[in-house]
């Protein structure tokens, strides 16, 4: 029986269509795995966290939405508009408002009562790297998961 099978295989052509399909499938899977693990990914911001003096005020996940910590339940006001969401955080140190751009998957500080120069409102929108920091009001916006990538400037 097995001898007949071997002789049939040996007697066959170089490739049958089924062989090529199987080899191609294995090759595609292998290449996909290689790409996934070896090539850099640029997924953008999946979510962010706002902290006040080191304590988490809220987290925002672009897929799952907003989650405000109980201790800050009365400190956060949300307003929809301009294709996104405005989050206003009021603490003992002041008021900060940021805009969550749902299309761009980014967040930017838009207003603060922190100082004359309002440096935090000029910081680049957070879209994957770094952090937005309001020093006088001790507010920090960072990407969720891991530590924020280093940014100098």
């Amino acid at each position: 029986m097995s001898g007949k099978v071997f002789s049939r295989v040996r007697g066959g052509g170089f490739f049958k269509r089924a062989d090529i399909v199987v080899y191609a499938l294995i090759a595609v899977v292998a290449i996909v795995l290689l790409l996934v693990f070896l090539l850099p990914s640029d997924e953008g911001l999946s979510g962010f966290e706002i902290t006040y003096d080191g304590a988490t005020v809220l987290t925002y996940d672009f897929d799952d939405g907003l989650m405000v910590k109980d201790a800050f339940r009365d400190a956060v006001v949300t307003t929809e508009g301009d294709g996104g969401l405005y989050l206003t955080v009021t603490t003992a140190d002041g008021v900060n408002t940021c805009f969550v751009d749902l299309g761009e998957r980014s967040v930017k500080m838009t207003d603060a009562d922190c100082s004359v120069s309002k440096d935090c409102t000029y910081m680049p929108a957070l879209d994957g790297d770094g952090a937005i920091v309001c020093v006088p009001n001790r507010i920090r916006i960072v990407p969720v998961g891991g530590i924020s990538a280093p940014v100098t400037g």
């Binding site: 080899y23 090759a27 090539l39 020093v135 920090r140 530590i147 990538a149 400037g153």
Partner: protein, 397 residues
């Protein structure tokens, strides 16, 4: 060998490689240590240097996290307070070494602490290396141009003879500009002494100028390199206590990177992708992958104001006027954040008109620079192997 067998073997090998790499992807090894389960911890304080200090560390377990918290509370926060107090240029009452130096009369011998002694020693070295482009003796000029703390609050009122009602719309009188520039040149005459009794600096005998009958004594401003010194010290402390993965940021202008424990793709194991802020478009203009290195950035797009289209920033040139050399931002990667800060300040002052800044940075061994220089349009100048993220015209150094 038949074509069929060859195809089978090649496909099997490819699949095997993919499976091995996928299996390896479940663990993540940096420097021979599996760091895949490491926990990210970020600790911040806003209490020092008028900025955020952030310590971002990956720890192995909860026990190591507790050790990090103890280090933060017991040593890092006191260290920050010590460096800030030591290097603050003014305080009332006078507490720190630099404030004592600034208040001293010409020719006076002033007792320092070790931090201030080493800071002045480094400043003197860089002052000479850069032919005065880096000069920390610009405290008077900074006050003249409206960049000290008293101008940052809403309650500013003119006090000094040179004050204007609105220093950010009215230029100072030329006699003060030239007098304070002349005063800053006396910095090279500062001498340091160290003996069994402690650390000392002697202010030069000619370390003062007189304008309209008022004497102004040589005064130092070490705020910028103070952040770099703090970043260097904190990073050393972390390594000394066995924390090998993470980075320290003081104000974003001074950073020290250790190794990265976060999974990186593209073969960048252990490296951080450090981004440099784009002063024009927001976001970042350059990215460099690195580890075990410091970086500092100086420029004229922060802490500055404009009068008649001319930008006046907090970095004072050799002529006593905020620099206007076309360098918008300069970043330097090297072994010390404090040194990098001093050098980038000097590079801003040197400028790129005759390539002085890039030529100077290129001569520094083990340093990499990236800067934006603007004449008609922004140009990136760099000797780094990083990524130009914004497509500005690039000049390789």
């Amino acid at each position: 060998m038949s074509k069929k067998r060859t195809a089978f073997i090649l496909t099997a090998l490819l699949a095997l490689v993919a499976v091995v790499i996928s299996a390896a992807g479940c663990s993540y090894v940096v420097d021979g240590v599996d760091v895949s389960g490491y926990i990210p911890v970020t600790l911040t304080t806003y209490a020092r240097f008028d900025c955020e200090t952030a310590v971002n560390v990956y720890v192995a377990d909860d026990g190591e996290k507790e050790r990090l918290f103890a280090l933060w509370n017991d040593e890092i926060l006191p260290l920050l307070a010590e460096v800030e107090t030591s290097l603050s240029c003014y305080s009332d009452p006078i507490e720190g070494a630099i404030a004592r130096f600034n208040a001293a009369a010409p020719g006076e011998r002033v007792r320092l602490d070790e931090c201030a002694y080493e800071a002045i020693e480094m400043c003197l070295r860089v002052y000479r290396e850069t032919d005065g482009a880096f000069n920390p003796a610009t405290a008077r000029s900074l006050d003249l141009w409206g960049f000290t703390d008293r101008f940052l609050s809403d309650g500013y009122a003119p006090v000094e003879a040179y004050d204007r009602a609105d220093p950010h719309t009215q230029l100072p009188e030329p006699k003060y500009i030239s007098a304070f520039a002349e005063l800053a040149e006396k910095f090279g005459g500062v001498t340091l002494q160290e003996d069994e009794s402690g650390f000392y600096a002697i202010k030069p005998e000619d370390g003062s100028v007189t304008v309209d009958g008022a004497d102004y004594s040589l005064a130092l401003e070490l705020g910028g390199i103070g952040k770099g010194i703090a970043a260097d010290e904190i990073a050393s402390l972390l390594v000394e206590r066995g924390f090998k993965y993470g980075y320290v940021s003081v104000g974003g202008s001074s950073l020290v990177m250790l190794a990265n424990a976060a999974r990186m793709t593209g073969g960048n194991t252990g490296l951080f992708d450090v981004s440099v802020v784009d002063p024009y478009k927001g976001g970042h203009y350059y990215r460099h992958y690195c580890r075990d290195i410091a970086v500092s950035t100086s420029g004229n797009y922060r802490n500055s104001y404009s009068i008649d289209g001319r930008v006046y920033s907090h970095i004072i040139g050799r002529d006593g006027v905020p620099y206007d050399t076309g360098v918008v931002t300069a970043s330097l990667f090297g072994p010390s954040a404090a040194l990098c800060d001093a050098y980038t300040t000097a590079m801003c002052v040197m400028g790129m008109a005759d390539g002085e800044a890039a030529a100077f940075a290129s001569k520094l061994k083990n340093y990499g620079y990236v800067l934006i220089y603007e004449t008609n349009e922004p140009t990136i100048h760099t000797n780094l192997s990083g990524e130009n993220l914004r497509g500005y015209a690039e000049v390789r150094g």
